[in-house]
């Protein structure tokens, strides 16, 4: 699970609980100017993930860590697909983040509002 906040023009993604271990990542700090958009997308977990390096992947149970596909680096942290949010980035190490959040609709609204005022 990820906790997402906006602070001083930056998007802060904190990986919580044991997922820090599975994802091998605690925190991502991204300028809002590098965030292209956010979308609630439960169906994305059915997509091929690509090559895992490094991370954890037990199909239908947990996808967590860094994956390479079609020349893109994607960060995943999803156990419950119904709560998956996709955050598209530009000019960052990751092309996109696919993370599980407590409230996908509220998270997307938070990011979109922050983009409009930034």
């Amino acid at each position: 699970m990820a906790q997402i906040n906006v602070d001083g023009g930056r998007l802060i993604v904190e990986i919580t609980g044991m997922n820090r271990v599975w994802a091998l990542k605690k925190r991502l700090d991204i300028p809002l100017a590098h965030v292209r958009g956010a979308t609630a997308d439960p169906g994305i977990v059915m997509e091929p993930k690509g090559i895992r390096a490094p991370g954890t992947h037990f199909p239908r149970f947990i996808t967590s860590g860094t994956f390479y596909k079609d020349g893109e680096r994607v960060f995943w942290d999803v156990r419950d697909s119904s709560k998956a949010v996709v955050i598209e980035l530009a000019g960052e190490r990751y092309a996109r983040l696919v993370v599980q959040v407590a409230d996908p609709r509220a998270t997307v609204a938070l990011i979109e509002r922050a983009q409009l005022v930034s």
Binding site: G37, D41, E47, D70, V86, E88, R96
Partner: protein, 178 residues
């Protein structure tokens, strides 16, 4: 692709269109969708802009060239575009404009253009002046634009008695005799 997205968004509520729907309907890879538009909202904005430019702008042009308000109303609701072309604008006005400032700006600009295209002269008095039967500057044009949108809502709902042609004629006659 953007045109297909506009058709999809015009037929269903924004929240009722999933990324799975878009990927299936547009024949697009998920990664390409995100790479090109950034998000579902990014694609929605592109689709809305496309619809306003290709469906609604020609309609506004036809309304502005109409002989009078009654004909203008008929032009707005007649094919091509007049009926279904307004659907995405209507849905955007109702469900996305209240929560998305960028959509609100696009909708407001389009409704203002439709008001201006009706060619109805402004009232003579101040806003709210009881002595001005036309309700002050712009009021009658706003009422005509609202009639166009209302008739489209009734037609889309398949409401009984929603004969847009007769309604346009009746309104046109009333306006001609004022």
């Amino acid at each position: 692709m953007v045109r297909s997205a506009a058709e999809l968004f015009a037929g269903r509520a924004y929240d009722g269109v999933s990324i799975d729907d878009l990927v299936t309907h547009l024949g697009l890879h998920r990664n390409s969708l995100y790479k090109t538009f950034g998000s579902k909202r990014g694609l929605y904005l592109a689709a809305l802009r496309w619809s306003l430019e290709h469906d609604v702008a020609p309609l506004i042009d036809r309304v502005s060239r109409a002989a009078g308000p009654g004909e203008g109303l008929r032009e707005a609701l007649s094919p091509p575009g007049g009926g279904a072309g307004l659907d995405l604008l209507l849905l955007a006005a109702v469900e996305r404009a209240p929560v998305d400032a960028e959509v609100a700006e696009l909708v407001t600009r389009t409704l203002d253009a439709l008001d201006a295209a009706t060619g109805v002269p402004d009232g003579t008095g101040d806003p709210g002046d009881p002595g001005d039967p036309d309700g002050g500057p712009g009021a009658l044009a706003v009422a005509l634009t609202s009639a166009v949108l209302g008739l489209r809502i009734r037609a889309r709902a398949g409401a009984p008695g929603a004969d847009a042609g007769r309604a346009c004629e009746a309104l046109g006659r009333r306006l001609a005799t004022r």
